[in-house]
Protein backbone atom coordinates (compact mmCIF):
# COMPACT_ATOMS: atom_id res chain seq x y z
CA UNK A 1 0.00 0.00 0.00
CA UNK A 2 2.77 2.47 0.74
CA UNK A 3 5.89 0.90 -0.74
CA UNK A 4 6.67 3.35 -3.49
CA UNK A 5 5.82 6.44 -1.54
CA UNK A 6 9.03 6.54 0.47
CA UNK A 7 11.01 7.42 -2.63
CA UNK A 8 8.87 10.44 -3.34
CA UNK A 9 10.37 13.89 -3.26
CA UNK A 10 8.98 16.44 -0.83
CA UNK A 11 5.63 17.91 -1.78
CA UNK A 12 7.09 21.28 -2.65
CA UNK A 13 8.36 20.00 -5.97
CA UNK A 14 5.51 17.70 -6.83
CA UNK A 15 3.58 18.75 -9.90
CA UNK A 16 -0.13 19.23 -9.46
CA UNK A 17 -1.28 16.90 -12.20
CA UNK A 18 -4.37 14.89 -11.54
CA UNK A 19 -4.16 15.15 -7.78
CA UNK A 20 -7.54 13.60 -7.16
CA UNK A 21 -6.79 10.23 -8.69
CA UNK A 22 -3.45 9.63 -7.02
CA UNK A 23 -4.07 11.54 -3.84
CA UNK A 24 -2.15 10.35 -0.84
CA UNK A 25 -4.09 10.73 2.39
CA UNK A 26 -3.27 10.47 6.05
CA UNK A 27 -5.84 9.57 8.67
CA UNK A 28 -5.05 10.37 12.28
CA UNK A 29 -7.35 9.16 15.04
CA UNK A 30 -6.46 7.72 18.42
CA UNK A 31 -9.33 5.30 18.04
CA UNK A 32 -7.53 2.65 15.96
CA UNK A 33 -10.72 1.04 14.69
CA UNK A 34 -12.07 4.35 13.57
CA UNK A 35 -8.90 5.22 11.72
CA UNK A 36 -8.92 1.81 10.09
CA UNK A 37 -12.52 2.17 9.04
CA UNK A 38 -11.89 5.51 7.40
CA UNK A 39 -8.77 4.15 5.77
CA UNK A 40 -10.77 1.28 4.32
CA UNK A 41 -13.47 3.57 3.00
CA UNK A 42 -11.06 5.91 1.33
CA UNK A 43 -9.00 3.08 -0.13
CA UNK A 44 -12.22 1.81 -1.66
CA UNK A 45 -12.68 5.23 -3.20
CA UNK A 46 -9.31 4.86 -4.89
CA UNK A 47 -7.03 6.92 -2.69
CA UNK A 48 -3.75 5.86 -1.14
CA UNK A 49 -4.31 6.10 2.58
CA UNK A 50 -2.03 5.80 5.59
CA UNK A 51 -3.42 5.62 9.08
CA UNK A 52 -1.86 6.84 12.30
CA UNK A 53 -3.26 6.39 15.79
CA UNK A 54 -1.33 9.18 17.45
CA UNK A 55 0.07 12.58 16.66
CA UNK A 56 3.67 11.33 17.02
CA UNK A 57 3.01 8.58 14.58
CA UNK A 58 1.42 11.04 12.18
CA UNK A 59 4.45 13.33 12.39
CA UNK A 60 6.79 10.40 11.83
CA UNK A 61 4.79 9.34 8.80
CA UNK A 62 4.86 12.85 7.42
CA UNK A 63 8.69 12.80 7.55
CA UNK A 64 8.69 9.84 5.19
CA UNK A 65 5.84 10.72 2.88
CA UNK A 66 4.27 13.77 1.46
CA UNK A 67 0.53 13.85 1.87
CA UNK A 68 -2.05 15.74 -0.07
CA UNK A 69 -4.65 15.66 2.60
CA UNK A 70 -4.74 14.75 6.27
CA UNK A 71 -7.85 13.86 8.23
CA UNK A 72 -7.17 14.70 11.84
CA UNK A 73 -9.23 13.94 14.91
CA UNK A 74 -9.77 16.90 17.19
CA UNK A 75 -9.37 15.13 20.50
CA UNK A 76 -6.23 13.09 20.89
CA UNK A 77 -4.09 12.34 23.93
CA UNK A 78 -0.75 13.89 22.91
CA UNK A 79 -1.87 17.02 21.17
CA UNK A 80 -5.14 18.38 19.88
CA UNK A 81 -6.10 18.15 16.25
CA UNK A 82 -5.51 21.87 15.85
CA UNK A 83 -1.97 21.62 17.19
CA UNK A 84 -1.23 18.73 14.90
CA UNK A 85 -2.76 20.69 12.04
CA UNK A 86 -0.37 23.56 12.65
CA UNK A 87 2.53 21.18 12.98
CA UNK A 88 1.71 19.46 9.70
CA UNK A 89 1.27 22.79 7.98
CA UNK A 90 4.64 24.06 9.12
CA UNK A 91 6.36 21.06 7.57
CA UNK A 92 4.33 21.08 4.38
CA UNK A 93 2.59 24.25 3.34
CA UNK A 94 0.63 22.50 0.64
CA UNK A 95 -1.02 19.91 2.80
CA UNK A 96 -4.78 20.25 3.24
CA UNK A 97 -6.28 19.22 6.53
CA UNK A 98 -9.78 18.08 7.45
CA UNK A 99 -10.62 18.22 11.13
CA UNK A 100 -12.88 15.54 12.58
CA UNK A 101 -14.57 16.40 15.83
CA UNK A 102 -16.92 14.55 18.12
CA UNK A 103 -18.21 17.84 19.50
CA UNK A 104 -19.85 18.72 16.24
CA UNK A 105 -19.72 22.34 17.09
CA UNK A 106 -19.77 25.45 15.06
CA UNK A 107 -17.11 27.25 17.08
CA UNK A 108 -14.65 24.40 16.79
CA UNK A 109 -15.41 24.36 13.09
CA UNK A 110 -14.79 28.07 12.70
CA UNK A 111 -11.72 27.84 14.92
CA UNK A 112 -10.21 25.08 12.83
CA UNK A 113 -10.98 26.90 9.59
CA UNK A 114 -9.26 29.94 11.04
CA UNK A 115 -6.24 27.88 11.96
CA UNK A 116 -5.98 26.69 8.39
CA UNK A 117 -8.09 23.58 8.12
CA UNK A 118 -9.88 23.34 4.82
CA UNK A 119 -13.03 21.84 6.30
CA UNK A 120 -14.40 20.00 9.27
CA UNK A 121 -16.51 16.94 9.85
CA UNK A 122 -18.55 16.32 12.95
CA UNK A 123 -18.55 12.79 14.23
CA UNK A 124 -20.45 10.62 13.75
CA UNK A 125 -20.66 11.26 10.04
CA UNK A 126 -21.90 9.29 7.09
CA UNK A 127 -19.10 7.74 5.08
CA UNK A 128 -20.66 9.28 2.00
CA UNK A 129 -20.27 12.71 3.56
CA UNK A 130 -16.65 11.86 4.29
CA UNK A 131 -16.04 10.89 0.66
CA UNK A 132 -17.74 14.04 -0.57
CA UNK A 133 -15.73 16.25 1.73
CA UNK A 134 -12.46 14.55 0.83
CA UNK A 135 -13.22 14.87 -2.87
CA UNK A 136 -14.12 18.50 -2.44
CA UNK A 137 -11.00 19.28 -0.43
CA UNK A 138 -8.79 17.61 -3.04
CA UNK A 139 -10.51 19.53 -5.79
CA UNK A 140 -9.83 22.76 -3.96
CA UNK A 141 -6.28 21.77 -3.38
CA UNK A 142 -5.85 21.18 -7.11
CA UNK A 143 -7.26 24.65 -7.75
CA UNK A 144 -4.97 26.08 -5.14
CA UNK A 145 -1.90 24.45 -6.65
CA UNK A 146 -2.91 25.60 -10.11
CA UNK A 147 -3.42 29.11 -8.83
CA UNK A 148 -0.05 29.02 -7.17
CA UNK A 149 1.60 27.80 -10.33
CA UNK A 150 0.14 30.67 -12.34
CA UNK A 151 0.53 33.39 -9.71
CA UNK A 152 3.13 32.13 -7.27
CA UNK A 153 3.28 35.45 -5.43
CA UNK A 154 -0.44 35.75 -4.90
CA UNK A 155 -1.80 32.48 -3.71
CA UNK A 156 -1.43 31.67 -0.10
CA UNK A 157 -3.30 29.19 2.00
CA UNK A 158 -5.13 31.91 3.86
CA UNK A 159 -7.04 32.96 0.83
CA UNK A 160 -8.70 29.63 0.38
Amino acid sequence: MKKSSSKKRPAAKKPAKNPVGKAHLLVVDDEADFAKMIQKTLVQSGYRVDAATSATQAIALQRKHSYDLALVDMRMPEMTGLELLQYLKVRDKKIFVLIMTAYGSFTIGIESLRKGASDYLSKPFKLKTLKDKVGEALKRRAQFLEEQRVHPERATMDEL
Binding site: E31, M37, K40, T41, Q44, Y103, P124
Partner: protein
Amino acid sequence: MPSIETKAQNFKILIRVRTLCLALMIFLLWWAEGTETSSAVIVGWKILIFAGILGLVFVVLGKIKKITGILLPFVLLLDSVLVGLWVSVSGGPVSYYIPFFMLTLISAIMVLPARTVVVVILGILGVFIGTIYLDFIWNLPASFEAGKINFISDALEKLPPADRETIYHQQTVRWFFFFVMMIATGVLLMRQVWLREERVRIREKALEQKRHLIQMGELTGRIAHGVNTPLGLISGNLELLMAETRKGSSTLKQLTQIDQYVQRAIRTVRDILDFSRQSMSEIKPVSLLQVIQAVTSAVQAKLKKVGGTLILDVDPKLPDVTGYPEGLFQVLLNLLENAVDSIRDGGIVTLSAHFQYRSLRLSAHDRRGEIKIVVRDTGRGIAADELKRIFEPFYSTKGFGKGTGLGLAIVKRIVDEHQGSIKVESRLSEGTVFTLLLPTDGLAREESNHPDDFYYNEPITHQKETSE
Protein backbone atom coordinates in the same frame (compact mmCIF):
# COMPACT_ATOMS: atom_id res chain seq x y z
CA MET B 1 -17.92 54.51 32.07
CA PRO B 2 -19.07 52.79 35.25
CA SER B 3 -21.10 49.67 34.89
CA ILE B 4 -24.81 49.52 35.61
CA GLU B 5 -24.10 47.73 38.87
CA THR B 6 -21.75 50.47 40.08
CA LYS B 7 -24.26 53.12 39.08
CA ALA B 8 -27.07 51.35 40.88
CA GLN B 9 -24.83 51.04 43.93
CA ASN B 10 -23.95 54.74 43.85
CA PHE B 11 -27.55 55.58 43.45
CA LYS B 12 -28.48 53.51 46.47
CA ILE B 13 -25.90 55.37 48.55
CA LEU B 14 -27.29 58.70 47.40
CA ILE B 15 -30.81 57.65 48.26
CA ARG B 16 -29.64 56.77 51.76
CA VAL B 17 -27.88 60.10 52.14
CA ARG B 18 -31.03 61.83 51.01
CA THR B 19 -33.21 60.02 53.50
CA LEU B 20 -30.69 60.71 56.25
CA CYS B 21 -30.65 64.44 55.41
CA LEU B 22 -34.39 64.55 55.54
CA ALA B 23 -34.56 62.89 58.90
CA LEU B 24 -31.92 65.30 60.25
CA MET B 25 -33.76 68.35 58.97
CA ILE B 26 -37.00 67.22 60.50
CA PHE B 27 -35.21 66.68 63.75
CA LEU B 28 -33.68 70.17 63.61
CA LEU B 29 -37.05 71.72 62.95
CA TRP B 30 -38.53 69.93 65.89
CA TRP B 31 -35.61 70.86 68.12
CA ALA B 32 -35.75 74.54 67.18
CA GLU B 33 -39.44 75.15 67.43
CA GLY B 34 -41.11 72.17 69.02
CA THR B 35 -41.74 73.43 72.50
CA GLU B 36 -43.48 76.68 71.69
CA THR B 37 -46.09 75.59 69.16
CA SER B 38 -49.63 74.37 69.45
CA SER B 39 -50.41 70.73 70.14
CA ALA B 40 -51.74 70.06 66.63
CA VAL B 41 -48.45 71.16 65.07
CA ILE B 42 -46.52 69.06 67.53
CA VAL B 43 -48.56 66.02 66.55
CA GLY B 44 -47.82 66.82 62.91
CA TRP B 45 -44.12 67.00 63.60
CA LYS B 46 -44.19 63.78 65.56
CA ILE B 47 -45.65 62.07 62.53
CA LEU B 48 -42.87 63.51 60.39
CA ILE B 49 -40.23 62.41 62.85
CA PHE B 50 -41.68 58.94 62.88
CA ALA B 51 -41.46 58.92 59.09
CA GLY B 52 -37.90 60.17 59.27
CA ILE B 53 -37.00 57.39 61.67
CA LEU B 54 -38.61 54.96 59.26
CA GLY B 55 -36.31 56.40 56.60
CA LEU B 56 -33.36 55.85 58.92
CA VAL B 57 -34.47 52.27 59.45
CA PHE B 58 -34.33 51.83 55.70
CA VAL B 59 -30.84 53.27 55.70
CA VAL B 60 -29.76 50.85 58.42
CA LEU B 61 -31.48 48.00 56.64
CA GLY B 62 -29.66 48.98 53.50
CA LYS B 63 -26.38 48.57 55.33
CA ILE B 64 -27.23 45.27 56.90
CA LYS B 65 -29.06 43.80 53.98
CA LYS B 66 -28.87 45.24 50.52
CA ILE B 67 -31.92 47.31 49.70
CA THR B 68 -33.37 45.38 46.83
CA GLY B 69 -34.95 46.71 43.71
CA ILE B 70 -38.43 46.48 45.17
CA LEU B 71 -37.65 48.32 48.45
CA LEU B 72 -35.60 51.09 46.92
CA PRO B 73 -38.46 52.81 45.07
CA PHE B 74 -40.46 52.76 48.29
CA VAL B 75 -37.68 54.56 50.14
CA LEU B 76 -37.64 57.08 47.36
CA LEU B 77 -41.38 57.48 47.40
CA LEU B 78 -41.37 57.81 51.16
CA ASP B 79 -38.95 60.70 51.25
CA SER B 80 -40.71 62.39 48.35
CA VAL B 81 -43.83 62.33 50.46
CA LEU B 82 -41.86 63.60 53.45
CA VAL B 83 -40.50 66.53 51.50
CA GLY B 84 -43.99 67.29 50.27
CA LEU B 85 -45.34 67.27 53.81
CA TRP B 86 -42.51 69.39 55.07
CA VAL B 87 -43.05 71.95 52.37
CA SER B 88 -46.73 72.04 53.13
CA VAL B 89 -46.35 72.90 56.82
CA SER B 90 -43.26 75.10 56.82
CA GLY B 91 -42.93 78.41 55.13
CA GLY B 92 -39.17 78.59 54.71
CA PRO B 93 -37.44 79.90 51.60
CA VAL B 94 -36.44 77.89 48.55
CA SER B 95 -32.91 77.27 49.78
CA TYR B 96 -34.23 74.68 52.23
CA TYR B 97 -35.33 72.41 49.44
CA ILE B 98 -32.20 72.75 47.36
CA PRO B 99 -30.26 69.87 48.99
CA PHE B 100 -33.05 67.47 48.16
CA PHE B 101 -33.27 68.60 44.62
CA MET B 102 -29.53 68.49 44.17
CA LEU B 103 -29.45 64.94 45.44
CA THR B 104 -32.36 63.97 43.25
CA LEU B 105 -30.64 65.62 40.33
CA ILE B 106 -27.30 63.94 40.94
CA SER B 107 -28.88 60.56 41.40
CA ALA B 108 -30.93 61.13 38.30
CA ILE B 109 -27.82 61.93 36.29
CA MET B 110 -26.13 58.82 37.62
CA VAL B 111 -28.85 56.45 36.54
CA LEU B 112 -30.95 57.95 33.84
CA PRO B 113 -30.47 58.02 30.11
CA ALA B 114 -29.80 61.49 28.75
CA ARG B 115 -33.27 62.41 27.60
CA THR B 116 -34.92 61.67 30.91
CA VAL B 117 -32.24 63.71 32.70
CA VAL B 118 -33.20 66.67 30.56
CA VAL B 119 -36.83 66.19 31.56
CA VAL B 120 -35.93 66.08 35.24
CA ILE B 121 -33.69 69.16 35.02
CA LEU B 122 -36.39 71.12 33.23
CA GLY B 123 -38.96 70.03 35.78
CA ILE B 124 -36.78 71.05 38.70
CA LEU B 125 -35.94 74.36 37.05
CA GLY B 126 -39.64 74.94 36.58
CA VAL B 127 -40.26 74.33 40.25
CA PHE B 128 -37.41 76.64 41.28
CA ILE B 129 -38.62 79.43 39.06
CA GLY B 130 -42.18 78.93 40.24
CA THR B 131 -41.13 79.03 43.87
CA ILE B 132 -38.87 82.04 43.48
CA TYR B 133 -41.72 83.79 41.75
CA LEU B 134 -44.06 82.96 44.59
CA ASP B 135 -41.55 83.94 47.24
CA PHE B 136 -40.06 87.13 45.84
CA ILE B 137 -42.22 88.51 43.10
CA TRP B 138 -45.38 88.22 45.13
CA ASN B 139 -43.75 90.19 47.95
CA LEU B 140 -44.28 87.84 50.83
CA PRO B 141 -44.75 89.41 54.24
CA ALA B 142 -41.72 90.18 56.38
CA SER B 143 -42.32 87.24 58.68
CA PHE B 144 -41.41 84.95 55.77
CA GLU B 145 -37.99 86.52 55.28
CA ALA B 146 -35.18 84.32 54.14
CA GLY B 147 -33.25 82.23 56.62
CA LYS B 148 -35.95 81.92 59.25
CA ILE B 149 -37.93 78.83 59.96
CA ASN B 150 -41.56 79.68 60.31
CA PHE B 151 -44.51 77.66 61.25
CA ILE B 152 -47.61 78.65 59.42
CA SER B 153 -49.68 78.85 62.51
CA ASP B 154 -47.24 81.23 64.30
CA ALA B 155 -46.85 83.47 61.31
CA LEU B 156 -50.47 83.62 60.37
CA GLU B 157 -51.59 84.68 63.81
CA LYS B 158 -49.62 87.93 63.46
CA LEU B 159 -51.08 88.74 60.03
CA PRO B 160 -54.23 90.60 59.01
CA PRO B 161 -56.96 88.30 57.61
CA ALA B 162 -56.52 89.45 54.00
CA ASP B 163 -52.80 88.62 54.02
CA ARG B 164 -53.59 85.37 55.71
CA GLU B 165 -55.82 84.38 52.80
CA THR B 166 -53.05 85.18 50.34
CA ILE B 167 -50.57 83.12 52.29
CA TYR B 168 -52.97 80.20 52.43
CA HIS B 169 -53.42 80.43 48.73
CA GLN B 170 -49.72 80.66 47.96
CA GLN B 171 -48.89 77.94 50.40
CA THR B 172 -51.40 75.60 48.79
CA VAL B 173 -50.08 76.30 45.32
CA ARG B 174 -46.50 75.76 46.45
CA TRP B 175 -47.39 72.63 48.29
CA PHE B 176 -49.13 71.27 45.23
CA PHE B 177 -46.21 72.20 43.01
CA PHE B 178 -43.59 70.51 45.14
CA PHE B 179 -45.59 67.47 45.98
CA VAL B 180 -46.49 66.70 42.41
CA MET B 181 -42.91 67.31 41.30
CA MET B 182 -41.45 65.07 43.94
CA ILE B 183 -43.87 62.27 43.20
CA ALA B 184 -43.21 62.60 39.49
CA THR B 185 -39.46 62.52 40.02
CA GLY B 186 -39.86 59.61 42.38
CA VAL B 187 -41.93 57.64 39.92
CA LEU B 188 -39.52 58.40 37.10
CA LEU B 189 -36.55 57.29 39.14
CA MET B 190 -38.44 54.31 40.42
CA ARG B 191 -39.14 53.10 36.95
CA GLN B 192 -35.54 53.53 35.89
CA VAL B 193 -34.06 51.95 38.96
CA TRP B 194 -36.48 49.11 38.78
CA LEU B 195 -35.62 48.52 35.14
CA ARG B 196 -31.93 48.51 35.86
CA GLU B 197 -32.18 46.36 38.95
CA GLU B 198 -34.30 43.99 36.96
CA ARG B 199 -31.65 43.80 34.29
CA VAL B 200 -28.93 43.17 36.84
CA ARG B 201 -31.06 40.50 38.45
CA ILE B 202 -31.69 38.81 35.13
CA ARG B 203 -27.99 38.81 34.46
CA GLU B 204 -27.21 37.35 37.86
CA LYS B 205 -29.79 34.67 37.35
CA ALA B 206 -28.42 33.88 33.93
CA LEU B 207 -24.95 33.58 35.41
CA GLU B 208 -26.18 31.22 38.06
CA GLN B 209 -27.99 29.20 35.45
CA LYS B 210 -24.90 29.19 33.32
CA ARG B 211 -22.78 27.78 36.10
CA HIS B 212 -25.26 25.01 36.54
CA LEU B 213 -25.41 24.38 32.83
CA ILE B 214 -21.65 24.22 32.53
CA GLN B 215 -21.64 21.32 34.95
CA MET B 216 -24.54 19.74 33.12
CA GLY B 217 -22.85 20.40 29.82
CA GLU B 218 -19.64 18.77 30.91
CA LEU B 219 -21.52 15.70 31.96
CA THR B 220 -23.65 15.41 28.86
CA GLY B 221 -20.65 16.30 26.73
CA ARG B 222 -18.71 13.43 28.19
CA ILE B 223 -21.59 11.04 27.76
CA ALA B 224 -22.21 12.19 24.23
CA HIS B 225 -18.56 11.82 23.39
CA GLY B 226 -18.50 8.36 24.87
CA VAL B 227 -21.57 7.37 22.89
CA ASN B 228 -20.65 9.17 19.69
CA THR B 229 -17.42 7.31 19.09
CA PRO B 230 -18.97 3.83 19.15
CA LEU B 231 -21.96 5.14 17.19
CA GLY B 232 -19.64 6.51 14.55
CA LEU B 233 -17.89 3.17 14.31
CA ILE B 234 -21.15 1.27 14.12
CA SER B 235 -22.64 3.50 11.47
CA GLY B 236 -19.43 3.59 9.43
CA ASN B 237 -18.89 -0.13 9.48
CA LEU B 238 -22.54 -0.62 8.71
CA GLU B 239 -22.17 1.51 5.64
CA LEU B 240 -19.14 -0.48 4.52
CA LEU B 241 -21.02 -3.69 5.14
CA MET B 242 -24.06 -2.47 3.24
CA ALA B 243 -21.90 -1.56 0.28
CA GLU B 244 -20.56 -5.09 0.20
CA THR B 245 -23.94 -6.76 0.54
CA ARG B 246 -25.79 -7.85 -2.56
CA LYS B 247 -28.61 -5.56 -3.55
CA GLY B 248 -32.12 -6.82 -2.84
CA SER B 249 -30.98 -9.44 -0.35
CA SER B 250 -32.74 -9.79 2.98
CA THR B 251 -29.46 -9.13 4.76
CA LEU B 252 -29.29 -5.71 3.16
CA LYS B 253 -32.84 -5.01 4.26
CA GLN B 254 -31.97 -5.86 7.83
CA LEU B 255 -28.79 -3.82 7.67
CA THR B 256 -30.75 -0.87 6.31
CA GLN B 257 -33.10 -1.15 9.23
CA ILE B 258 -30.22 -1.24 11.68
CA ASP B 259 -28.80 1.79 9.94
CA GLN B 260 -32.06 3.70 10.40
CA TYR B 261 -32.04 2.98 14.11
CA VAL B 262 -28.42 3.96 14.43
CA GLN B 263 -29.11 7.21 12.62
CA ARG B 264 -31.94 7.89 15.02
CA ALA B 265 -29.66 7.29 17.98
CA ILE B 266 -27.09 9.62 16.45
CA ARG B 267 -29.71 12.31 15.97
CA THR B 268 -30.94 11.98 19.52
CA VAL B 269 -27.47 12.21 21.00
CA ARG B 270 -26.72 15.22 18.84
CA ASP B 271 -29.90 17.00 19.87
CA ILE B 272 -29.35 16.30 23.54
CA LEU B 273 -25.80 17.54 23.20
CA ASP B 274 -27.06 20.68 21.49
CA PHE B 275 -29.70 21.17 24.15
CA SER B 276 -27.19 21.01 26.98
CA ARG B 277 -24.27 22.72 25.37
CA GLN B 278 -25.52 26.19 24.61
CA SER B 279 -24.24 28.02 27.62
CA MET B 280 -20.82 26.47 27.57
CA SER B 281 -19.35 28.85 25.09
CA GLU B 282 -18.50 32.35 26.19
CA ILE B 283 -20.53 35.43 25.41
CA LYS B 284 -18.98 37.66 22.81
CA PRO B 285 -19.92 39.84 19.87
CA VAL B 286 -21.10 37.57 17.11
CA SER B 287 -21.18 38.50 13.47
CA LEU B 288 -24.56 37.31 12.29
CA LEU B 289 -23.33 37.54 8.72
CA GLN B 290 -20.75 34.89 9.46
CA VAL B 291 -23.35 32.74 11.16
CA ILE B 292 -25.80 33.11 8.29
CA GLN B 293 -23.10 32.21 5.82
CA ALA B 294 -22.21 29.08 7.76
CA VAL B 295 -25.85 28.10 8.13
CA THR B 296 -26.69 28.57 4.48
CA SER B 297 -23.78 26.42 3.46
CA ALA B 298 -24.83 23.82 6.04
CA VAL B 299 -28.33 23.44 4.60
CA GLN B 300 -27.18 23.28 0.99
CA ALA B 301 -27.13 19.48 0.89
CA LYS B 302 -30.66 19.23 2.29
CA LEU B 303 -31.91 21.92 -0.05
CA LYS B 304 -30.40 20.09 -2.97
CA LYS B 305 -32.16 16.90 -2.02
CA VAL B 306 -35.55 18.58 -1.82
CA GLY B 307 -35.03 20.74 -4.87
CA GLY B 308 -35.96 23.98 -3.15
CA THR B 309 -34.87 27.57 -3.46
CA LEU B 310 -33.27 29.60 -0.73
CA ILE B 311 -33.62 33.35 -0.99
CA LEU B 312 -31.39 35.48 1.19
CA ASP B 313 -32.42 39.01 2.02
CA VAL B 314 -29.71 40.01 4.42
CA ASP B 315 -28.52 43.49 5.20
CA PRO B 316 -24.72 43.45 4.76
CA LYS B 317 -24.47 46.19 7.39
CA LEU B 318 -25.90 44.10 10.22
CA PRO B 319 -24.35 45.00 13.56
CA ASP B 320 -22.95 42.31 15.80
CA VAL B 321 -25.08 40.59 18.38
CA THR B 322 -23.74 39.82 21.82
CA GLY B 323 -24.21 36.17 22.55
CA TYR B 324 -23.13 32.63 21.98
CA PRO B 325 -21.98 32.06 18.41
CA GLU B 326 -22.73 28.39 18.81
CA GLY B 327 -26.25 29.09 19.98
CA LEU B 328 -27.08 31.55 17.23
CA PHE B 329 -25.78 29.11 14.67
CA GLN B 330 -27.97 26.42 16.18
CA VAL B 331 -31.04 28.65 16.13
CA LEU B 332 -30.73 29.57 12.50
CA LEU B 333 -29.74 26.06 11.49
CA ASN B 334 -32.76 24.51 13.20
CA LEU B 335 -35.14 27.07 11.75
CA LEU B 336 -33.74 26.70 8.25
CA GLU B 337 -33.63 22.94 8.43
CA ASN B 338 -37.25 22.84 9.56
CA ALA B 339 -38.20 25.14 6.72
CA VAL B 340 -36.34 23.03 4.17
CA ASP B 341 -37.88 19.87 5.61
CA SER B 342 -41.37 21.23 5.16
CA ILE B 343 -41.12 22.33 1.54
CA ARG B 344 -41.56 20.16 -1.50
CA ASP B 345 -39.92 20.37 -4.89
CA GLY B 346 -39.98 23.95 -6.08
CA GLY B 347 -40.66 25.31 -2.61
CA ILE B 348 -39.09 28.53 -1.46
CA VAL B 349 -37.37 29.31 1.81
CA THR B 350 -36.63 32.94 2.58
CA LEU B 351 -34.19 34.14 5.20
CA SER B 352 -34.16 37.85 5.85
CA ALA B 353 -32.19 39.75 8.47
CA HIS B 354 -32.41 43.47 9.09
CA PHE B 355 -31.59 46.00 11.76
CA GLN B 356 -34.32 48.11 13.30
CA TYR B 357 -34.62 50.42 16.28
CA ARG B 358 -36.48 49.02 19.21
CA SER B 359 -40.13 49.96 19.23
CA LEU B 360 -40.04 50.56 22.98
CA ARG B 361 -37.25 52.99 23.66
CA LEU B 362 -36.19 54.57 26.93
CA SER B 363 -35.48 57.87 25.25
CA ALA B 364 -34.68 59.48 21.95
CA HIS B 365 -31.00 58.91 22.69
CA ASP B 366 -31.59 55.24 23.14
CA ARG B 367 -30.07 54.22 19.84
CA ARG B 368 -30.02 50.54 20.58
CA GLY B 369 -31.90 48.33 18.27
CA GLU B 370 -32.69 44.81 17.42
CA ILE B 371 -32.13 42.49 14.55
CA LYS B 372 -35.21 41.08 12.95
CA ILE B 373 -34.70 37.73 11.34
CA VAL B 374 -37.52 36.18 9.39
CA VAL B 375 -37.48 32.61 8.13
CA ARG B 376 -40.35 31.98 5.77
CA ASP B 377 -41.21 28.85 3.88
CA THR B 378 -43.86 27.80 1.42
CA GLY B 379 -44.15 24.40 3.02
CA ARG B 380 -47.00 22.40 4.41
CA GLY B 381 -47.60 24.63 7.42
CA ILE B 382 -48.52 23.77 10.98
CA ALA B 383 -52.02 23.30 12.39
CA ALA B 384 -53.21 25.88 14.93
CA ASP B 385 -53.39 23.45 17.85
CA GLU B 386 -49.91 22.19 17.14
CA LEU B 387 -48.60 25.70 16.84
CA LYS B 388 -49.18 26.35 20.53
CA ARG B 389 -47.00 23.48 21.62
CA ILE B 390 -44.33 23.84 19.04
CA PHE B 391 -41.66 25.18 21.43
CA GLU B 392 -42.24 22.52 24.07
CA PRO B 393 -39.38 20.09 24.54
CA PHE B 394 -40.00 16.60 23.19
CA TYR B 395 -42.97 17.76 21.16
CA SER B 396 -42.53 16.75 17.57
CA THR B 397 -44.77 16.97 14.55
CA LYS B 398 -42.42 15.02 12.38
CA GLY B 399 -43.66 11.61 13.44
CA PHE B 400 -42.13 9.05 15.72
CA GLY B 401 -38.46 8.43 15.12
CA LYS B 402 -38.03 11.27 12.68
CA GLY B 403 -37.48 14.13 15.07
CA THR B 404 -36.51 14.23 18.73
CA GLY B 405 -38.81 17.16 19.41
CA LEU B 406 -35.90 19.15 20.80
CA GLY B 407 -35.15 21.31 17.78
CA LEU B 408 -37.49 24.22 18.45
CA ALA B 409 -37.15 23.85 22.22
CA ILE B 410 -33.44 24.45 21.69
CA VAL B 411 -34.26 27.45 19.52
CA LYS B 412 -36.58 28.90 22.15
CA ARG B 413 -34.07 28.44 24.91
CA ILE B 414 -31.23 30.02 23.04
CA VAL B 415 -33.40 32.94 21.98
CA ASP B 416 -34.43 33.42 25.61
CA GLU B 417 -30.80 33.36 26.64
CA HIS B 418 -30.16 36.18 24.20
CA GLN B 419 -33.16 38.06 25.64
CA GLY B 420 -34.76 37.95 22.27
CA SER B 421 -38.16 36.80 21.21
CA ILE B 422 -39.52 34.38 18.67
CA LYS B 423 -42.91 34.29 17.07
CA VAL B 424 -44.44 31.81 14.71
CA GLU B 425 -47.29 32.14 12.27
CA SER B 426 -48.47 29.38 10.05
CA ARG B 427 -51.21 28.37 7.69
CA LEU B 428 -51.75 24.81 6.60
CA SER B 429 -50.45 24.11 3.11
CA GLU B 430 -49.41 27.75 2.72
CA GLY B 431 -46.31 27.92 4.83
CA THR B 432 -44.77 29.00 8.08
CA VAL B 433 -43.09 32.22 9.18
CA PHE B 434 -40.73 32.43 12.12
CA THR B 435 -39.95 35.94 13.27
CA LEU B 436 -36.95 36.34 15.51
CA LEU B 437 -35.96 39.52 17.34
CA LEU B 438 -32.48 39.72 18.81
CA PRO B 439 -31.49 42.78 20.81
CA THR B 440 -28.23 44.40 19.88
CA ASP B 441 -26.29 47.28 21.39
CA GLY B 442 -24.55 47.99 18.15
CA LEU B 443 -25.81 50.38 15.54
CA ALA B 444 -26.18 49.56 11.90
CA ARG B 445 -22.80 49.76 10.30
CA GLU B 446 -21.87 52.50 7.93
CA GLU B 447 -20.06 50.07 5.73
CA SER B 448 -20.66 46.49 4.95
CA ASN B 449 -18.39 44.44 7.15
CA HIS B 450 -18.18 41.62 4.72
CA PRO B 451 -15.46 42.01 2.16
CA ASP B 452 -17.19 40.09 -0.59
CA ASP B 453 -20.71 41.39 -0.07
CA PHE B 454 -21.86 37.90 -0.68
CA TYR B 455 -25.43 38.75 0.19
CA TYR B 456 -26.48 40.14 -3.06
CA ASN B 457 -29.62 38.32 -2.34
CA GLU B 458 -29.51 35.97 -5.22
CA PRO B 459 -31.74 32.97 -4.91
CA ILE B 460 -29.91 29.71 -4.50
CA THR B 461 -31.89 27.26 -6.54
CA HIS B 462 -31.44 23.55 -6.73
CA GLN B 463 -33.08 21.21 -9.13
CA LYS B 464 -34.35 18.09 -7.49
CA GLU B 465 -31.85 15.32 -7.85
CA THR B 466 -33.30 12.52 -9.86
CA SER B 467 -31.14 9.79 -8.44
CA GLU B 468 -29.33 9.61 -5.16
